[in-house]
Symmetry: C2
Subunit: 150 residues, 2 copies
């Protein structure tokens, strides 16, 4: 297992994985993105032990990825809503869905199809450059080290 | 821990996470994408136990994400090169780097800056629609269930 501080690593990815680098977490995010947000609904959808789910949800709330909201007063019941920071991770979930559909296809086709409301199209997400809008792949990008950290 | 078969789950993301849903795996991919591909270089870069690295690399080769290539004959030494299927995951790594830079910034700035060769720009990757090219976020996409699997 990775330690919690990645000694010697100055890496944005490593810091992200401290928060979400665990399989349950991305499945929890998948569910809250699609509207499955109540504790009991999440237990049912994920088939996860309640103690494990509680621990993961607490960590995601502490890290500001999810927000806990009471939806019922007596007894108090909570739902878990993605924050703005959490909502940004929809791109990671979408790309991993696409990768799964491509390489581990289900015989009946993709379990979920992404629709883009604005254009009405079947959106196949891809990575694009913020400057020119062109699609990015490993052959046209370079990760240059920050000289201040070299 | 998740079982290896996610009983009852028909989910592209869950299938992807079977292969790469573990923190070391994405850090290994980060390294092979930036050219750190030899076993001993990976041990040094990651600070990972050799037995753990061997197990992760074997799994990634078995799943067709990495390819093992001999770069030296006596004694035989291997490097690990991303396959086409593995190269596709650069988008996930790039988005998680960006998310880490945004929410867990390093005082000296982003450790690595992505440059887009084709336009010369500092690429901030984002998710775009394959149909219209517009940026996608949680508010303008919908994941519709495949009726054949409902």
């Amino acid at each position: 297992m990775l330690g919690s501080d990645y000694p010697g690593q100055v890496c944005s990815l490593a810091r992200s994985l401290e928060v979400i680098g665990e399989r349950w977490t991305l499945l929890i995010l998948r569910d809250v993105f699609t509207g499955i947000r109540r504790f009991d609904e999440l237990v049912h959808s994920l088939g996860i032990a309640r103690t494990v789910l509680t621990r993961r949800l607490d960590a995601l709330v502490a890290d500001g990825v999810l927000e806990r909201r009471a939806y019922q007063a007596r007894p108090v019941r909570y739902e878990f809503v993605p924050t703005a920071k959490g909502q940004e991770l929809v791109d990671v979930v979408a790309l991993l869905m696409r990768w799964g559909d491509t390489h581990y296809p289900h015989p009946a086709g993709p379990p979920r199809q992404l629709l883009h409301h604005d254009c009405g199209g079947h959106a196949v997400p891809h990575l694009a450059c913020s400057d020119c809008g062109q699609e990015l792949d490993l052959n046209n990008i370079e990760a240059r080290l920050n000289p201040a950290l070299a």
